[in-house]
Amino acid sequence: FVHQGSKWRVKDLTWSVSQPTSQLTRNDVETQIARAWKLWSDNSDLTFTKSNGGNVHIDIRFAKYEHGDGDSFDGPGKTLAHAFFPQYGGDAHFDDSEPWTVGRYGTNLFQVAAHEFGHSLGLSHSNVKSSLMAPFYRGYDDNLHLDPDDIAAIQGIYGPPRRSGSGWNRLSSQSSTSRRPFDTGSSRKTPVIPPTSESSAAICKSPSIDALTTTSDGKTYAFKDDLYYQLNDYGVEPGYPKKISDDWSGLPANLDAALTWSDGKTFFFKGGKYWRFLNKKALPGYPKLISKGFAGIPNDVDAAFVWSGNSKTYFIKGTKYWRYDSAIETPVSADYPKSLSAWDGLPNHIDAAFQWKNAKTFFFSGNQYYRFNDQRFTVETDYPRQNGPWWFGC
């Protein structure tokens, strides 16, 4: 067996099927899924509880071909399903082009789910042929059980069952279960970054934001009210939130928008004024008037961002947007503003927008966020998602 290197820090995990298959009843699907979890709970100190949607640790869905995670399925046969290791969220996806079945004929859901959940718990593929974690589907097995190789693998991470009646599974519904930060384990390959729940507590209560940007030194900051947070791949850096006024000289609270251009300068907007920084260093001569520095752009904008699709700058206010092209004489052409509805899938109020690690453009509205697909010019499938668990480690 092989440990991938990350694990769940909590032992009571919740799951839900957010997108079932039309080939089986939801009850059939959930019964097989619960059976699959029970294989692991019977042999470790873990419990798995079905929840009715909302925040769960492990989301399960059926989808076909490209389904939003960049790892598209391939139609009937070959790849049947895939799952994410704990540090990547733990979710499990099943190729809905397969003939899923609860019996002998077709692709047995119980067997495939049991394997995928091994990944969700932190196990990689095993080259022991009889192991459940071997990569290949071995046809219908009416006596599926964990191989000693699987048991050694799971107990090597979470320990043996400690409860009497080892590893029972509560089919109870819990409607509000927060997703716990996860631990990236003590694997020598994966840096251990402790969850920062004390940093996140404040923003987890109400995870909407005012502005968000990545400065030229590559650090990403979220601003809300009079506080700001530095974000990392998993949530909030230790020691945050901090007061904006302590570190960003002259910058007011309750910002409207933030924007970093390719020359490394970061702009902050509030009311009719804007400020200019290089990382956290305020540049002299600011604030200035938006009407002077960004002619054609209104005051009190909601968001400002550089779109990854064409590296042009956009401003949003209400249901309208403006494109600002500093390279031409009239930066805002006459045919702006345009309707935000042209950006398919976005809500009609945006709090903030920004380009994450020079890749995708993300839009934030209330407690939710949207990832934009630049090629199809629409919001990615299975968005919006909750800000809390995905950006602030709630």
């Binding site: 092989v2 991938q4 290197g5 995670d69 960049g70 790892d71 399925f73 391939d74 139609g75 009937p76 046969g77 070959k78 790849t79 049947l80 399903a81 895939h82 799952a83 994410f84 290791f85 540090q87 990547y88 969220g89 190729d95 397969e98 692709t107 495939v112 394997h115 995928e116 990944h119 990689s124 593929h125 080259n127 042929k129 071997a134 990569p135 290949f136 589907y137 694997s187 390959k189 994966t190 791949d233 998993y234 994450w356 993300f362 990832r371 995905w390 950006w391």
Partner: protein, 94 residues
């Protein structure tokens, strides 16, 4: 099914890259896929598929490459250092 079977060497190379046995050639670093790389990757696959590890692309090996399976790579990025020693991360949380 409608899928094209894995038969030709490019198909096999694509399969081996997809499931972590072989690194994609990297024009920036000039790293290429040599015959040794390819043969070693086939051996690793054969070990996972509980086949004789000959490194030779025989019919049984191709048959297993067409077998239904899990989409997670057999050798994940965390386990596979890149040429410059850094570890790739795939499928980030966001």
């Amino acid at each position: 099914g409608p899928l094209s079977p894995i038969n030709s060497e490019p198909d096999v190379q694509g399969y081996l890259q997809r499931f972590g046995y072989l690194q994609a050639p990297n024009p920036e670093t000039g790293s290429l896929v040599t015959h040794e790389h390819f043969s070693e990757a086939v051996k690793q696959f054969q070990s996972f598929a509980s086949l004789p590890t000959t490194g030779i692309l025989d019919a049984e090996t191709k048959r297993m490459m067409n077998a239904p399976r899990c989409g997670v790579p057999d050798i994940t990025d965390e386990e596979r250092p890149t040429e410059n020693g850094q570890t790739h991360r795939r499928r980030r949380k966001r």
